[in-house]
């Protein structure tokens, strides 16, 4: 017999809030609100709020009129989705087959799993106890198919479970359930109720054809699924593999040497775990658990997938002094956050062609972990005629292969200003820059560069630029451009144009 467990978590967001703000939660009224038709409607309330008479579907304005000390929290489906995924991941300990059902329900296919926990009842108790421990209110039901498990879960009281592991008894209980537990639209429920059809058993004597004709296919399909006449697809969630290893200490550890030794052992274990799967890590997290129940984390990144415990422990050594645990450490956990398929070194292009690059990646890992990977960059050519966009800056990237740079036919400045510098008091005889008057002895140009008409670049809003090379007496060669600055009257019409000169770079 198949077994499905449906878990409903009706107060997901409130439970999460209660968990985050442990102190004073029970003393204050908390509600979750949603804006429906320009009105803030309460969709969930905690025990304190309920004791004050505030409940679901009530308007927030009305509730505030009676009690002004209500703490509101907007409904956040994204947060709910995150929490339910985390709970689903937690439920992997019961079964590998888990399906998300709506925003607040989980379905577990526990066929063949229950004996590991001492039977169906023991399993349900286990789940209930674990979820209570996590701080979530839950309703749990077990039945022989997904639809009936979902129907029974609506009947379960918070903190209790319903178990049906006997088919005839399950059938008898199921037909007594209200029809709305079969996940039917409210409109159809209304129609059924007007006809006096309230329980599933009321539908059984009716002919299928007439049911479909009057209420659509969904009602019949859901009823047949619940009764076990039709199957329902189970869409199990695919979880990313977690590569994690940890070491808990019997007594709190203070010695930093001991920490380093344990870290090395954990690294070796984790790398073996990754190697078996043909993976290697690019980002590792080290978490320490302190005796005061707080945690601290350090992270290392690598520019390439790494399988060397020695190099990785060197990178961790750079950051170990950031860990602050004066009272010692209870547990160390090492997690590979970012893993990639590992290409063995013998197949690596770099090994065959540019052996000098191999230690370079280690060097940049070392530098990147100390000062930040965003500080390391390389340039690649870009197909653009605008000088400042004729190349791309690749951050966190190491130059290792040949690139397609070509010489440009026109001269370009060795150093370019990030922001062009406006030259007031400019003439082709002399101009002032950084407090020094530059006397021009020769000039060449202009080279006209037109802006890209297809997008409105604020730096090029003055239109075409005429670039000049100006050679100063000091030996400096300046790359200066002139633009026609348009002056508009209050009416928006062009009243005058004025030439402005900017310094863009020098050699």
């Amino acid at each position: 017999m198949k077994n499905f467990i449906s878990i409903s978590l009706p107060h997901l967001q409130l439970n999460k809030l209660a968990h985050d703000q442990r102190n004073g939660w029970d003393d204050k009224a908390h509600v979750v609100i949603e804006r429906i038709a320009n009105k803030d409607i309460i969709i969930d309330a905690n025990a304190k709020a309920k004791s004050l008479g505030i409940d679901k579907q009530q308007s927030l304005t009305k509730a505030l009129a009676c009690f002004d000390e209500i703490i509101t929290c907007p409904n956040n489906p994204n947060l709910q989705a995150k929490i339910i995924k985390k709970i689903a991941q937690f439920c992997l300990k019961y079964t590998p087959k888990i399906m998300l059902y709506g925003h607040s329900k989980l379905l577990l296919d526990t066929t063949g799993c229950a004996h590991l926990f001492g039977g169906n009842e023991a399993l349900l108790q286990h789940i209930q106890y674990d979820l209570y421990g996590l701080g979530y209110d839950s309703q749990i039901a077990m039945a022989s198919n997904m639809r009936s498990a979902n129907a029974f879960v609506n009947q379960a009281v918070i903190g209790t479970y319903i178990l049906h592991d006997d088919k005839p008894k399950e059938h008898a209980a199921l037909i007594k359930l209200p029809i709305e537990y079969l996940d039917i639209d409210d409109e159809i429920i209304g129609q059924l109720q007007r006809l006096g059809l309230r329980q599933i058993k009321d539908l059984l004597p009716l002919k299928s054809a007439s049911l479909v004709k009057r209420f659509g296919q969904t009602l019949l399909t859901h009823m047949n699924q619940a009764l076990g006449h039709e199957s329902q697809a189970f869409k199990a969630i695919k979880f990313n593999s977690i590569y994690q290893t940890s070491q808990a200490f019997e007594h709190t550890v203070i010695l930093s040497n001991y920490l380093q030794t344990t870290l090395k052992i954990l690294l070796e274990n984790l790398l073996i775990m990754l190697k078996v799967k043909g993976k290697a890590s690019r980002q590792l997290n080290l978490t320490i658990f302190r005796p005061d129940h707080t945690t601290q984390q350090i992270q290392i990144n690598t520019s390439q997938a790494h399988l060397s415990a020695q190099n990785l422990s060197k990178l961790f050594a750079l950051k170990l002094d950031k860990l602050n645990a004066p009272d010692g450490i209870d547990k160390i956990m090492l997690t590979a956050n970012l893993v990639e398929n590992y290409i063995s070194k013998s197949d690596n292009y770099l090994d065959k062609n540019e052996t000098e690059n191999i230690p370079l990646t280690d060097l940049f890992d070392h530098i990147g972990n100390k000062i930040g990977f965003d500080k390391i960059m390389s340039y690649v050519p870009a197909n653009n005629h605008i000088p400042e966009r004729a190349f791309s800056e690749l951050k966190q990237s190491i130059n290792i292969g040949p690139s397609s740079w070509h010489k440009t036919p026109l001269k370009r400045p060795t150093r370019m200003l990030k922001q062009p510098y406006i030259l007031f008091d400019f003439s082709f005889a002399n101009f002032e820059y950084q407090g020094q008057r530059q006397t021009i002895i020769r000039k060449s140009g202009p080279e006209r560069i037109l802006p890209e008409w297809w997008w409105n670049d604020p730096l090029w809003q003055d239109g075409a630029r005429d670039y000049w090379w100006l050679i100063a007496q000091s030996g400096r060669q300046f790359w200066v451009y002139a633009t026609a600055h348009i002056i508009r009257a209050e009416t928006g019409e062009i009243s005058a144009t004025k030439k402005r000169y900017f310094l863009h770079g020098w050699s």
Binding site: E356, N357, P359, L360, D362, L363, F364, H366, I367, K370, I371, K375, I376, M377, S378, Y379, P381, P387, A390, F391, I398, N399, I400, G401, P402, S403, W405, H406, K407, T408, K411, R412, P413, T414, R415, M416, L417, K418, Q419, I471, Q473, S474, G475, Q477, G505, S507
Partner: protein, 195 residues
């Protein structure tokens, strides 16, 4: 027989260790070294600089950009740490740092020791020179030669290998058609001929 050219003279002086370039046109002397690089090079730039090296200009000067990696540093301390680590690793042929203050005696000694370990070279483009002594292998001043654009006077101010420096050892670096040429300075040539 090994022909002694002006370029060879400079290459021999720029031995393993840390070297300091100073002067308005020191950048071009560093770029000349960069153009000669056969292996990977790290170029250090201050993060808050108002300008940057324009890659297309470097390509025009014959520099292989796929051999160059740029690192932005926040302060002198960070830059010196990067130089030391890069020198010690031996993973790069040169490390060139722009816009640094002159390292003190202890810092320059550390750089030289790291360079000896990794058998690599550091070229530090100084903002200015101080009167304090340090342990740099060489120090060079690069200025414009005879008021001519693209022609620069390279003066050796100090060399630990050579010991006493008269201050008259000069070379001329010329950039013609975006290529670097090194010649002995006329005064120096005459001095050598007399010797």
């Amino acid at each position: 027989m090994h022909k002694v050219t002006a370029k060879n003279q400079i290459d021999e002086l720029l031995c393993t260790g840390s070297h300091e370039f100073f002067g308005e046109f020191a950048l071009y002397f560093a770029l000349m070294q960069l153009a000669q690089a056969k292996y990977q090079v790290i170029w250090l730039e201050p993060q808050k600089a108002a300008d940057y090296l324009y890659p297309h200009a470097l390509v025009n000067l014959g520099i292989n950009l796929h051999k160059v990696n740029f690192v932005a540093y926040q302060n002198q301390h960070q830059a010196l740490w990067v130089i030391e680590e890069a020198l010690r690793s031996g993973a790069v042929q040169y490390i060139i740092a722009n816009g640094l203050k002159q390292p003190n005696l202890l810092q320059s000694k550390r750089l030289n020791m790291a360079a000896q370990k990794g058998k690599s070279k550091a070229f530090i483009l100084l903002n200015g020179i101080s009167q304090n002594a340090n342990s740099a292998m060489t120090r060079w001043q690069i200025d414009l030669a005879d008021g001519q654009a693209n022609k620069y006077n390279i003066k050796l101010l100090r060399s630990r290998e050579k010991g006493f420096i008269s201050g008259k050892e000069n070379w001329i670096m010329d950039i013609k058609n975006e290529k670097f040429y090194i010649n002995l300075a006329p005064a120096f040539t005459a001095q050598q001929a007399r010797a």
